[in-house]
């Protein structure tokens, strides 16, 4: 009966449903502090009739559009830092190409299972991570010193100027290589991973980490998106309503930022991810089809 409904629905029903779902995801993504891609891929892959190749291609574009739209304001306001973001983006965008090529070559049930496991892991990270507003960095490492990765952050809320520097840059680079692979493999975007690495591992102030994460996404998702595009894994009928819906929803989400309780929205997102992760795992293992 369900399959019949899917087959008999007019062509516009699914893109319209996709637009509405993405609009809602956009509303909750901003106050929850996550990019759209991490919600989009498991939910759309789990409940829409599209092949995972096209869902991942669209997921990357959703994440890319959000990052591209946000990056200019973040750079302009000094939240995103080129010298912090560029070395990490270089490694992550190169590895995202590898992730995309591997993801498109693997059997779909393997990717589906790996996606389920990854989403459940992200749920755990989101539920447990406690970011630090201004992490203590006693001394920068040699690489950070050579690349002049430091600065002064002017807090727009208090007007206070806070000097910052980073440490453990080589470890950060290795972790970003892994993040890039995951972004390309699953089309997730990777803000959920960028932020803890920049903030908790390298010691960038929280707002600088969040801003620079958005800038890095704009480069990482660009390179992975090209691979999906050139492999035929981008369908305008899926990608366009998703991008438009998510961007319109995000505008409302940004307005809700000061109104709704971030903790409540975050709990909702963690619950959604848990459900979508279990669905992806069940689908991949053939026990929840």
């Amino acid at each position: 009966m369900g399959a019949e409904l899917v087959a008999q629905a007019p062509w516009w029903a699914w893109p319209l449903a996709l637009f509405l779902v993405c609009f809602l995801l956009g509303i909750i993504a901003v106050p929850a502090g996550v990019g759209g891609g991490v919600l989009f891929v498991p939910i759309v892959a789990g409940f829409f009739p599209f092949h995972l190749d096209f869902v991942r291609g669209a997921g990357l574009l959703v994440a890319l559009s959000g990052a591209l739209a946000a990056a200019p304001r973040l750079l302009d306001g000094g939240m995103a830092r080129l010298r912090l973001g560029l070395p990490l983006a270089l490694v992550a965008s190169a590895s995202s190409i590898v992730g995309a090529l591997v993801g498109l070559a693997l059997p779909v049930h393997v990717v589906q299972v790996a996606l389920g496991v990854t989403i459940l892991g992200i749920t755990l990270v989101m539920a447990r991570a406690r970011n630090s507003e201004f992490p203590r960095v006693d001394e920068p490492d040699a690489l950070a010193r050579a690349l002049h990765i430091h600065g002064v952050f002017r807090d727009p809320g208090t007007g206070r100027e806070i000097p910052w520097q980073v440490h453990r840059t080589p470890l950060g680079i290795v972790l970003f290589a892994g993040i890039g692979v995951l972004a390309g493999l699953f089309g997730l975007g990777a803000g959920w991973a960028n932020l803890p690495v920049l903030n908790l591992v390298m010691g960038a102030p929280l707002k600088v980490a969040a801003g620079t994460s958005g800038f890095i996404l704009s480069l990482v998702d660009s390179s992975a998106a090209w691979i999906y595009l050139n492999q035929g894994a981008v369908l305008p009928i899926i990608a366009a309503p998703s991008v438009i819906g998510m961007m319109l929803g995000a505008r409302i989400g940004a307005r809700l930022l000061g109104v709704v309780k971030a903790v409540t929205i975050r709990r909702l997102v963690v619950g959604l991810l848990l459900f979508a992760g279990l669905r992806a795992l069940g689908k991949g293992l053939g026990i929840w089809t």
Partner: protein, 137 residues
């Protein structure tokens, strides 16, 4: 503010300005081309009502069914509505290249060669991804 700090700020602002314009143009192209596709205003390569028969199959099957090759083959049909949407997406995925080139020029000028070289290396990575030379098997 020292000359280097001024230069770094200039690089960030120029990057932001180019990216803001590129994103606006790319998103407008995507919306317009998709509307043209959805409402049949411009002839498509794959009729929109035929796509649901293909969207449950993997990407290689879609390419085969629509007579497209992996890589830039879609660009041959860029005058058709659905391929025009792909061109808009390609534009969005490319607009960072101009920003990186502009930032690299400023970083070279202020003597920050390592960051400038990283900008050029990132352009090379994006160009490699866009080239269509890398194929999944």
């Amino acid at each position: 503010m020292t000359d280097n700090e001024q230069g770094r700020r200039e690089a960030a602002l120029l990057y932001a300005r180019i990216l803001a314009w590129g994103t606006r143009v790319g998103l407008a192209m995507l919306v317009l081309s998709f509307l043209a596709y959805a409402f049949g205003l411009v002839a498509p390569h794959v009729p929109i009502e035929e796509v649901p028969k293909l969207w449950s199959s993997p990407a290689p099957a879609y390419l085969q069914a629509t007579g497209l090759q992996p890589g830039w083959d879609w660009a041959r049909f860029v005058h058709r509505a659905d391929m025009l949407s792909l061109a808009a997406i390609a534009f969005l995925a490319s607009c960072s290249i101009a920003c990186l080139a502009a930032a690299a020029r400023i970083f070279f000028r202020i003597g920050e060669r390592p960051v400038a070289v990283i900008c050029l290396a990132e352009i090379a990575v994006l160009a490699l991804a866009a080239s269509g030379l890398l194929v999944a098997h």
